[in-house]
């Protein structure tokens, strides 16, 4: 482009009448090697525009950003996973409490026999015969209580089975 054309374009530029293409031509001219003496005052302006266009973010920025995006992603997924898991636990807990409550309603509570604390001083043996007697009695008592316990457990199990049938 010759001097005249550029001067006209420059006037148009300062009037705010240039197109993007014409502005690109001006940038190109003023960033070139030969600039007319009378147009030199405008050179720094267009060189400044050009140098500004070349300003870029560090390459590391992209890496850091993508890492941060992944970080913002994680808690989102974590919460969702946890809530499903918690919902399952809550459902099981609720069902158990419900079954227990239902069972309590159908069978008024029987008070379970409470084991009495043993007064060991009474059983303190003095002779070998007495010690044998004490041992024999204790074993017999333990055996009877074990049998009672098993019977109670069996009874409870059959009640649970009935409840399950009702629920199903």
């Amino acid at each position: 482009m010759n001097y005249k054309e550029i001067s006209q374009l420059l006037e148009k530029y300062f009037e705010g009448e240039t197109s993007l293409q014409e502005e690109a031509q001006l940038r190109e001219y003023f960033n070139g090697a030969t600039i007319h003496e009378s147009l030199r005052p405008y050179q720094p302006l267009f060189r400044f525009f050009q140098s500004e266009r070349e300003q870029k973010l560090d390459t590391i920025f992209e890496e850091q950003l993508l890492r941060q995006l992944q970080k913002t992603e994680q808690p989102h997924l974590k919460v969702r996973r946890l809530s499903i898991w918690m919902a399952r636990v809550a459902a099981v807990a609720l069902l158990t409490i419900g079954v227990w409550w239902g069972y309590q309603q159908m069978n008024p509570a029987k008070t379970a026999p409470v084991a009495q604390a043993i007064d060991w001083s009474k059983y303190e043996p003095e002779t070998p015969e007495e010690a044998y007697q004490v041992l024999k009695t204790s074993l017999k008592k333990a055996s009877t209580e074990l049998n009672q316990g098993a019977a109670t457990a069996a009874e409870e199990m059959s009640k649970m089975r009935k409840i399950t049938e009702i629920i199903q």
């Binding site: 530029y13 720094p44 400044f48 992209e62 995006l69």
Partner: protein
């Protein structure tokens, strides 16, 4: 899928956002923070990308708003910032700039002294090469205002170029 779209269509605009944020904040670190925040916010809203007509304009608008918020809160929290403060954190002190006869640096400082609207319009038109329509949308400014602000900015710079002895250096 979203990540691929992000990398191909949104991320390439990061330098433009950075330059714009920097022209408002005059600080490279803060400008970088703003761009990062904008891009993270856009990513978090990826479910509504399909509703966005012009992603470039949206990210630019977000950058402008965040940078201006940041600038205003900075002014509130610091004693009046000197009006003619260096606009880059890594800039050479003004005296040395003059001594070094760095013409481009002087233009940079000249542009820094422009009113905010003039500077934003000039940045988007003369540096980023955007159309008046795009600038109008990004700055949420009527098109005639865009043209007026640009005209004033260019006239102001021209007066300084002619009056100063920049070209004689």
């Amino acid at each position: 899928m979203s990540l691929m779209y992000f990398k191909e269509h949104i991320l390439p605009g990061k330098d433009k956002l950075y330059r714009f944020a920097q022209s408002i904040l005059k600080n490279t670190m803060e400008a970088e923070d703003v761009v990062q925040e904008v891009l993270v916010r856009v990513w978090q809203k990826r479910d509504s990308w399909h509703e966005v007509e012009n992603m470039g304009a949206l990210t630019m608008k977000m950058t402008k708003n965040l940078a201006l918020d940041k600038l205003r809160s900075k002014h509130r929290h610091t004693d009046d910032l000197p009006e003619y403060a260096d606009w880059r954190d890594d800039a050479t002190p003004p005296d040395e700039v003059i001594e070094s006869n760095d013409m481009i640096e002087q233009i940079r400082q000249l542009m820094q002294h422009l009113p905010e609207k003039h500077r934003m319009v000039m940045q988007l038109r003369d540096i980023e090469g955007l159309s008046y329509e795009e600038i109008s949308e990004m700055l949420e400014m009527p098109m005639n205002q865009v043209k007026i602000n640009l005209f004033r900015a260019r006239t102001h710079i021209r007066e300084h170029l002619i009056n100063s002895k920049l070209y004689e250096l």
